[in-house]
Amino acid sequence: MPPTFFNQGFQRKRPSNHKLPPGQYETHDFPVLSAGPTPRIALDKWTFTLEGLVEEPKKWSWQEFNALPQQDFNPDIHCVTQWSKFDTKWRGVSLDTLLEHVQLRPEARYVMATSYGGYTTNLPLADLRDGKAFIGLTYDGQPLTPEHGGPARLVVPHLYFWKSAKWITSLRFMAEDEPGFWERAGYSMYGDPWKAQRYADDDE
């Protein structure tokens, strides 16, 4: 059945070999989007912390963090600004590995990711488990550059990429969901690209 409204003469110009979420197009570049200046973080000052609803917070230095077991990840990523990028090449530490180092309180259900520079974004805890999320340290075999979120970036590829907080420094476990930076500005609390949950109005 033809759509009820269509733009006469418009047709797909860029065929993609991949299945694209609604409204997305494939890019082979790696566009940069952030709300303010790129923070530069000295590695000897860098720390990463798990805190909030845990029996005891856990903090790593850069050296300690890099000594954790690392894995390769090849996720497809989807940005709310409509680009998707397939088969990206990352190496980093799985959230499952990190979570072995803390004892979560039973009421912990949500997470606030916080970045150097003050950026925040919220996620359900379940979306960080079972191989679904990692802290990326290298991209395409090189240390992650500052504009793409280096030295370390949270990567949660099954959600829109603003949930993959650049310049990550902590994860805080919470009982209730709270909006982060873009979520307070009207973006979706969850951000499922396959349901096109771009803005709060798109959430059920």
Binding site: F5, F6, Y25, D29, A35, P37, Y199
Partner: protein
């Protein structure tokens, strides 16, 4: 009751060529809501086979211009959406849009507005133009500088209007920076924006300005970092970038 983010069918009422690669589309909206300068709309094209493509475009018009929006669009090479807008759209055609969207790269003008430093690269001037038009309509006189980096003279979007604004408002300064080819006899900036250039621009302000920087990633990265190195706080530097891809 329609939510502001429902899709609506707008009618194209005017198409104006700004430069050889940039056009402004005026869209009449059945459900217009006032936007904040800096916000954008998402435009959706649907093919007869149901395929859809969406792109976001900054609003160029001020909120004082009711019932319609102006979207200024740059033709991207091989652009699926911009290509169709440039080749396939005429006045009276209908286009689906939703918005206004965006709550951070926006300027809320008040009578006590702080000085404003706007830095644009190419079509990054579009959301900044909405701020300037709004400022003009609201008759604000906060010291304001637009530093506008373009490669060549023919790429100056909104040139006439910006020059008229300069002539009529002594508190507004337009600084053009031609990075490749400057007009004959040009005595202004003619190089990529660097620290020395930013230092000169920031010195024009008696009080620290709020900064809005929009353009290609390279320019935004270097300007935002440069402004921070000059001592401006990160929270006063708002950025919007477009990468090498687009639509």
């Amino acid at each position: 009751m329609m939510s502001k983010l429902d899709w609506q069918r707008a009618t194209v009422t005017a198409i104006h060529a700004e430069t050889p690669r940039v056009k402004t589309f005026t869209l009449s909206l059945p459900h217009w809501t006032p936007h904040l300068p800096g916000q954008h709309y998402t435009l959706r094209l649907t093919a007869p086979d149901g395929y859809q493509a969406e792109r976001s475009y900054s609003v160029a018009s001020p909120p004082e211009q009711p019932d319609e929006i102006e979207l200024t669009v740059e033709a991207v090479e091989e652009g699926e959406v911009s290509g169709y807008l440039f080749e396939g759209v005429e006045v009276d055609d209908e286009l689906e849009v939703r918005g206004p969207i965006g709550g951070y790269f926006v300027w809320r003008a008040t009578a006590t507005a702080r000085p404003l430093l706007l830095v644009a690269g190419g079509s990054g001037v579009v959301p900044l133009m909405a701020m300037l038009r709004h400022r003009q309509r609201a008759m604000l006189r906060n010291p304001t500088v637009l530093l506008f980096s373009i490669r060549t003279p023919e790429e100056v979007i909104y040139r006439q209007e910006l020059e008229a604004m300069t002539a009529s408002d002594p508190t507004f300064t337009l600084l053009l920076d031609y990075t490749r080819q400057a007009p004959d006899g040009w005595s202004g900036y003619h190089r990529r924006i660097d620290t020395a250039l930013l230092t000169e621009v920031v010195k024009r302000f008696a009080a620290a300005p709020e900064c809005y920087v929009c353009g290609p990633t390279g320019l935004v990265e270097s300007v935002a970092t440069g402004l921070q190195n000059l001592g401006l706080p990160a929270e006063d530097i708002r950025t919007e970038r477009f990468g090498p891809t687009g639509g």
